[in-house]
Every structure is written in structure tokens, then in C-alpha cells.
Amino acid sequence: MDAHNRLYLTKFTTTTGSLPLTLPNNISEITLSARNLQRRFGDHLVINDVSLELRRGEVLGLLGHNGAGKTTTMQMLTGCLLPNSGEIEICGFNLLLQPELAKANLGYLPETPPLYRELSVNEFLNFAARLRGIKPSSTAGVLAEAKRNCGLESVGKKIVGTLSKGYQQRVGIAQAIIHQPAVIVLDEPTVGLDPAQIREVRTLIRELGDTHSVILSTHLLSEVESVCDRVEIMQHGKLIYSDTSEQMRQHGNVSGFVVGLRNPPPLSSLEGIPGITHVEPLTATQFRVLHKPQDNPKSELLSMAERQGWQLEQLIPLQATLEDVYVRITSPKETGEALSKESTP
């Protein structure tokens, strides 16, 4: 049995001894569920009817513009802010009714890492572990593990305040995972890191995602592409799109390709090929060719190029990047359409 299941067991046996011990296995599926969250600041409705579900072994990316409500949502999921209405359950515990049991299964890295700058890294992580209910006898073990995971072995004795921003961010991640929580909430975890560190942190998140549930907010689309299993896009306090990151890339994909011809024919003869709807010259020898999604004129074009000596150089299918898709989904005129397409998790 791994570490987090052990944590469940101790929680169950010590605090709610009457519950059957089989429960930990049953609840290992959905670790976090939020239903119909609403949050106002004064008259301003910041979060409107947000529902989320997260399973063990899943990394969920929360995407959105600045001010879309990502941080507010995460603050509500971690108990730092109460929703005006709605329910949050972490590992089967209601966050509002049984906050202490629910939060024991939670690790949170806010936008600014919550650090005590005057303590050393070891002291701080030790405190963070004890705070989450790790016994003094086992803190040394979890401390070493968290430091190894976050690459902090060499700075254990340094004062947190003297570390560089990248290392401080790593300490922030370490405090969030030190107690092996079932749900890890990371608010823009790679901000302020250099490219090498970003790659390390992403690998770490990916590893964590295999055994824990991770929810991370970001506006870096490459992060979603490389790390997340699932994407939720947020705009104006609403979730407007939800899908796997692979599916999202397919969303609104255009059918077409870029073709390079060393000896190009006049534009009209390209447009004459059946199925091709639009040809746009990119350079003298490169053309962007759009076609109807149902009939692909690729083979026709290839054979014509061969017969007429156009000297084909390259043929690259157009693939929308996540960035294109994201912009398309969040742009105002598409919002209505995206809403109607929204798939329920």
C-alpha cells in the first residue's frame, strides 16, 4: 500500500473509527469534486456555476486569460475562500463541513509560494509536514523524499529568503507534496523558472499525476500540451470548454496542407483540382491549400505534380496548435458556439 493510502487509513481509523476499512479503496476513484460553485465579490459575480471533477492519476489544466477566475477557483478548492454556494468534496469529505479531514488530503501551491523567509529550507519543510499531520518520527523520511523530488538536496540548510526565485518556487512545490496528498492544487507552478527548471517541474508534475490528482492553472499552452490529460477553459468565471488536451487540439481543426512545389503551375490549375476550395500562395513556391474535410485531394495533387513536373518538395498537413484552438475557443464570437458544444465530464 502506498503512502497516501496509508494516510487515508490513519485518518479513517483515528478520526472516524466506525467507518469500514474497505472505504479507502472505494474512494480512490474521484478525489475531488466541486459542484455548482458560485462566488461574488460585492456585486461582481466572479465565479459562476463552476463544476469540476478530478480522478486519481489525472492532471487537469485550468486555462484562461488573466482575471478569468482561475485563482479564485483554486482558492475555493483549497478552503482559503468560501464559495457563496456550491459544494466541494475532497476524497469524500465535504470541505465546508469537515474541513480538517478534507484538507489533510490536499496540497496547495498558491501563485506566490507561501514561505517563511527567515527559516531554513529544512525547518520550513519540517513545519509544513507537521502542519499536515505527519508524525515527528516520520518527518525525516518525507523531508528527504520531497527534497529529492524537487531537487532541493543541496540547499537544505539555506535560509529560504536567500534562495533564488526558482528555488523558492521549488520549495513551494515541495511543501505542497510533502505529505503525499491525494489532491495537489498548483497555481501557475512554472512561473519564474528558467527553461531547464520548467522542464524538470513538468516532469515532476507528470510523475505526480500518475499516482495523485493534480490540478494546475496556467496560461502557457505548451504546459497543457506536455503535462495535462484534460483541459478546462475558463472565461469570465465560467468553464466554457472541457475536454482531453488531445481532443482540444482536434477542436475546430482545418482540413488542408501546405504544399511546396519547386516548379509551380499557375494558381488556377491548382484551384482546378477537384476538392480544393482555396489556394493561397505563401511564397513563390509554397501554397496553403484548403479542401473540404470529406474528400482529400492529396493523391490527385500528387499524381498531377508527377505528371506535369511541378517538382513536389514538401506536403505538410495543417494542424491547429493548441494556441490557435485556445484563441478560437475564447474569442468572443466563438464563445456561444463553444458553450453549446461543451461536453460534460
Binding site: F41, C80, L81, K103, P110, Y116, F127, L131
Partner: protein, 247 residues
Amino acid sequence: MIRLIALRELRGLLAMPSTWFLLAILQFIFTWFFLNTLQTFLELQPQLAQLNNVPGVTTVVAVPLFNLTALLLMMLVPIFTMRLIAEERRNQSFALLLSAPLSTRQIVLGKFFGLLIFLVLLTAGIPLMIYTLALGTNLDHGLVLGNLLGLMLLACSYVSVGLYVSSLTAQPVIAAIGALAILAGLWLADAASASESSAWHLISPLYHFQNFNAGLLDSGDIAFFVLFSAVFLVLAMRRINNNRAYG
């Protein structure tokens, strides 16, 4: 958990060089004052010896020292309490406590006791100095212990006020000035009302300390300190909860 947070507070305070600097300065002030009053006492002693029912060394040396400490604490405590919540909010480290499996009560009491332990350390030099006199003379132990108890209760009331003001804001300086304003206001309410029976005396922690200072142990004074501290601690807990609810 309360102990864990209290020790963290203490550790954080002791990790800062400025704390040690302040401790040194205060110890210097206490010692200078102590030696000064002791010298006055020694000069007056031949004359006092001729009178009947004269004040002893405890009354002449220890009592003013405790009185001075009570006044100094009024100005010092806000400087320390401003860090407790306001600075954590500003550094955004408060989220660590809010997202940890802790109740608001544990957070507030942890911080309260953490600072209280520090204040015990800060004033620990005073009884030590006074008890050096026991080498050469007899001390009024009851008076010294009564004063120490009063000083601790006074510190409790100051810390709870400071903690509450600290929970109101994310600006440590505002928290310090606010707490100082309340404490100084309570002191002035006591000092400025001339009539002995004025109700203004009753709300001032320093007024209630005067009885301890004179060696009078009144359960009413103890009840005042306990209630006063409890009210502000509960207000601080409510404030943190409301902050979650109203943002």
C-alpha cells in the same frame, strides 16, 4: 498543532537579527533602570532606617521596574503583533495555514501563545535581576510573584488586541499603529479621567495592573484580563473566518 504554530512563531522571531538587537536594548534599559533605583535606595537607606514602617527594597526597587516594563510592553507588543497575521497576509504565506488541516482557533491560539512565550523570554531578565538582591537582603516574594502574574496577564491582553488588529489588515505598519492607538487610547482613558470612580478606569488594562503592582491580588482584575483577552481572540478568529467568506 497549537504548539507547532507557537514554536514556529518563536523560531521565526528568534531567526531575525533585529529581534536579538531589540532584546539587548531592552535588557540594557531594564538593567540601567534597576541599578539606578537600587542606587537611590542605597543612598536613602540610612534615613529610612530611622523611620517606622518604611517601604522595603522590593517596594522601592522592584515595583517601579515592573511599572516601567508594563508601559514599555504597551509600545513594544504592537511591533511584534503586527507580524502575526498582517505580514503573513502581505507575504501571502497565510494560505499555507488556511489550506492546512487546522481550525481558525488553532491558528489564532498558536500565534497568541507563540508571542506570549517570546514576551516571557523578553521579561525573564527582570525577576533574575531582582532575585540577585536576595543574596544580601530579604525580598517580599509575594509582591514579586504578584507583579509577575500581573505582567503576564497584561501581556495577554496586549497581545490579543494586537492580534485582532493584525487580522484586520494586510499592512503590518497599519496593524502596528492601530494596535498602538488602541492601547495608548485605553491608557489615556485611564490616566486622563481624574475622578476615582470614573468608568473609564475600568476598561484600561494598565489600571487593572496597578493592583497587581501594589501587591493586591483581586479576582476581579484577573477576570478582567481573561475576559478582555478572550474577547479580542474570538474577534480575531471571527475576522479570519469572515475573510474567507467575504474575501
